[in-house]
Amino acid sequence: MKNKRGICVAIACVLLLLSATGCKKVQEPTVQGKSPTGPSGSATMVASEVVQVSPEEQWAIDNGLYLDESPEELYQKALAEGGKVVIYTASSRHAKVKADFEAAYPGMELIAYNIQTGELIEKLRTEYEAGIRVVDIVQSKEVSGEYTIDFFRPGILHNYQPESIYGNVAEEFKRNVSPFFVELSTWFYNDDAYPNGAPINSWWDLIKPEWNGKVIFQDPLSSPSYLTLITTMTRPDVAEKMAENYKKVFGKEIVLDKDEPNAGYAWINRFLKTDYTLTSVADETVKAIGTVAGTAQVGYSASSKLREKALSMPYIQSDLEHFAPALGVYGLNFVSIVNEAPHPNGAKLYLQYVMGGADGNGAGFKPFNTFGAFPVRPETIPPKGSIDLSAVPLFEIDYEYNLNSMNDVHDYWLIRR
């Protein structure tokens, strides 16, 4: 018994070590052959190293997840396995790809289940643990690191990164997950109320008295993305930048209170002392600002909502490039194939399609290639007037710090909310 526990601890240590170093080496032999699997390019390594391959990894190899098959080839195989693809997603836009996809590949059926991020994880985890395999693709957003560490590394979700699609994608994005597009959150304001440009350009502006009662923020306790953002602010290196920026805005060094461990916590603490408005629904924020002329509020919401400027909300505006010390953290929308998915070939076919096909500009990616979102394939042509992601100031991401400190920051926020 004791021995068994020892083995468990050993495995846990290895896992921890691997994740702590962000290690990219995949086939680390462990006692039970259960190793963290995952990232791209592992097929070649598997072939050369003679080690035990986990069943998850074996499934990925057997089902050609490391091959670069042509759409025609996949189409025939997909029809043979039933012609279906089931996707769990937090985005309603896959439903819009459905018609085009089914027209391009007659006989195929795309079934999209639109479910909120938190529930998606719960559903996926319960189903998977119970041995139920009904879903092929999961499309969600990696912000905190939960997907990387809890799903990709144990091989519950597989990366599918064929060279023809992912060849030119930056290493930074495809290291942990198979990126779909990058999404940011940004401060929105009403063009009509502030014709001279963004009224705020620092996090510290928000705690000034003139913004009292005019700030709309989504409650981090109802959204993992926002919890990740405020957690990142408390990371020592980021907090230092927050302190520097404080000096710039107020002209003096920040004096921390007893309950403010650093400038990041200080921002949370002081913001929560103002008269802010919290929403629990993402789209509510931008709607509050954008539907009526002259709305004085500013609000933080997904940058992809900028697409609505040309559509239903003419008044929304945002300045992505000038916000100090940084606008926030980026969220990586990813696509993945679930281990032991019932329709692996249909899944591969759809993923190639939705990534924009061979040239990255196909009909599948169209609904996602919108103003305010950032395609990861350099060959994809972004909408006119788009900003380059490199021009946007962003906090660096540290999944380990996030997952370790999230509970503390959660409580810090909750106590003061």
Partner: protein, 602 residues
């Protein structure tokens, strides 16, 4: 010795006992086991806390309970929301009970005109999902607090203060209006069963109208009032939609919003702990309630003898009271629904002028400038599927649930004096106390995997893997609504005096014959009333099913919910309106052709 033997034989051969045994097994299986699973989860380290607690998943811990009751976050996580919930639930219950009793008394005991119309109109707030009632509240009172489009009053140039637009007052009023239906239904059923001879006797010996009301009528309907207190109070403690829409913007959090946000951000164990607290609290209320009213809860009124009732003449105040009811209906029933309906025809929200009218949200084709390109709901290719799924689920569930409810009702009604009858009654009530989303999560965990035991070499499936099947949705909906179904069944069976059955028994009629020849024909009206009652609550169900639904099984409330999550309020309202029309039509047909009257269901 022989006596004991006879007793055992009696027990085993009596159909009553057999029914009790089967039912108990069924209920333990579907209610007690999941509940037990939920409780144990709160003492085990969950996946999310493995990292922070440094213990393997599944090992024993008191962490969640400590966190809830005795940690730095307890105040914000539990005590304050709990107090808020209590405030809201108590106040809303008071409003609901007062309104419900008043309407019931007016409709049943007085000579108020237009009874037929009123009795349907008064139930409308209950037919509209409570979250869409809160959306129409916002459509009327919304102010500039959160920016964006103004409400109807704001459009007219009236600035509504924050305390009216959001927060406890708004929540209390909306909940009170939605849930007075329980008190109204229960109390009118109870009033209908009172023989007016009792009141007339009081009159003969010279008691005043007020004294009769106090000393005769009130004690007789007391059990019904207390039951409706329980139903309303527990429901208000557990509902999520209304406080989420109206409370969070002004930082007013309740226990249910806490519960839901922990369930939704994956903190299942803490969510379950909150749910357990709610269950314990609700059980205490039920216990106190039972101590007050004792065992005698209703009175047999369909007997061999006929009863009659004389209506109280309202006299001069008749017109005034009628006018007041019409005003109430206009303000709280017609107005919100009309505003909600009107909103679905507005191109831009908040602009109520005629130039802004459109049919886009109903029949418009996909236009990227409107609703992020979502077509009008009747153009939505999924719409008919949603309608079909909703109808299929609701009809199947309501039918099975009602039949089951009648059987349980029979046991409870005939077994009131036995421990077994009371036990079944308690057991059946339990799902009512468990918040829907927690109940859904419990079933997800329980039925995801089939569990077998090997007994004497045979493999027996204890729990089949029902996840993803239509059967599971039906099962969970039935179990969750059993309290309603069995209340309806009990009320139905209690009304049928045992004398009738006894008479048949003496003539040699068996159980089956008694059931089909006496109980069923007499309870037909009650059956359809019970059916409608369950139908109305299931068709609005969302939280219960959302974790269990698969893409092929989505329903209309799910459609409305996903629209509101994307802030497409007009589309969401349009779906809610369709839902309301389906309920209303079904109710109308049932009351027209099957003589259903849900006020008789209780």
């Amino acid at each position: 010795m022989n006596r004991i033997k006879n007793k055992i034989i009696n027990l085993v051969s009596s159909p009553y006992s057999i029914m009790v045994i089967i039912l108990t097994v069924f209920l333990v299986y579907l209610i007690v086991i999941p509940l037990f699973g939920m409780i144990t989860t709160t003492f085990e380290v969950g996946k999310n806390e493995v990292r922070s607690l440094g213990k393997p998943a599944g090992s024993f811990t008191l962490y969640y309970w400590m966190r809830l009751f005795a940690s730095t976050v307890s105040k914000k996580m539990f005590y304050i929301p709990f107090l808020n919930s209590l405030t809201v639930a108590i106040s809303a219950s008071v409003i609901a009970i007062v309104l419900g009793c008043l309407f019931a008394w007016l409709m049943v005991r007085t000579n108020i005109p237009y009874k037929k119309f009123f009795s349907i109109a008064l139930l409308i707030p209950y037919m509209v999902p409570s979250w869409s009632l809160s959306l129409s509240w916002l459509a009327i009172f919304k102010n500039q607090r959160i920016g964006g489009a103004k409400g109807f009053l704001g459009y007219l140039g009236l600035a509504t203060p924050d305390w009216l637009a959001y927060g406890p007052l708004a929540i209390i009023i909306v909940l009170g209006i939605h849930y007075y239906a329980y008190a109204y239904l229960l109390v009118s059923a109870s009033l209908q069963s009172i023989n007016s001879e009792l009141e007339e006797m009081g009159q003969i010996i010279g008691a005043s109208k007020g004294k009769i009301l106090r000393k005769v009528t009130f004690p007789l309907v007391m059990p019904a009032i207390l039951s409706s207190v329980i139903l309303t109070f527990t429901k208000c403690m557990g509902t999520f939609g209304v406080p989420a829409f109206l409370g969070t913007k002004v930082k007013y959090y309740t226990i249910s919003t806490t519960l839901y946000s922990s369930m939704k951000t994956g903190q299942r164990s803490i969510g379950f702990a909150v749910a357990c607290t709610l269950i314990v609290f609700a059980s205490i209320t039920v216990f106190i309630n039972q101590k007050i009213i004792g065992q005698r809860k209703s009175y047999a009124t369909i007997g061999g003898k006929g009863g009659r009732s004389t209506l109280i003449d309202l006299g001069k105040s008749r017109t005034l009271i009628t006018a007041l009811i019409i005003l109430f209906l206009f303000l709280f029933v017609v107005f919100p629904i009309v505003v909600m309906a009107y909103e679905t025809f507005l191109l831009r929200p908040g602009d109520f002028s005629f130039e802004n009218l459109t049919l886009q949200h109903w029949v418009g084709r996909s236009d990227l400038r409107i609703n992020s390109g979502e077509p009008g709901i009747l153009q939505n290719p999924q719409f008919l599927k949603y309608v079909w799924n909703t109808l299929r689920l609701t009809f199947v569930t309501a039918l099975i649930g009602t039949i089951l409810g009648q059987v349980i009702g029979y046991i409870v009604a005939r077994g009131r004096q036995h421990l077994s009858g009371r036990f079944v009654e308690q057991l059946v009530f339990m799902p009512y106390l468990i918040p829907s989303i927690a109940f859904g999560a419990m079933y997800l965990a329980l039925f995801a995997k089939s569990r077998t035991v090997t007994l004497l070499g045979y493999e027996i499936t204890l729990i089949p893997s029902l996840y993803g099947t239509f059967a599971l949705l039906v099962l969970i909906s039935i179990v969750k609504h059993l309290p309603f179904a069995s209340r309806a069944g009990t009320a139905n069976m209690l009304q049928i005096s045992y004398d009738l059955e006894e008479a048949a028994h003496i003539c040699g009629a068996g159980v089956f014959k008694r059931f089909t020849k006496i109980l069923l024909p007499l309870s037909k009206g009650g059956f359809w009333s019970g059916f409608m009652l369950i139908f109305i609550s299931i068709i609005k169900e969302l939280d219960l099913l959302i974790l269990l639904m698969t893409p092929a099984q989505q329903t209309l409330p799910y459609m409305a919910y996903s629209f509101s999550m994307e802030s497409l309020d007009q589309l969401s309202n349009a779906v809610a309106l369709v839902l309301f029309l389906i309920i209303f039509l079904t109710y109308w047909i049932a009351s027209k052709f099957a003589k259903a009257d849900i006020s008789k269901g209780f």
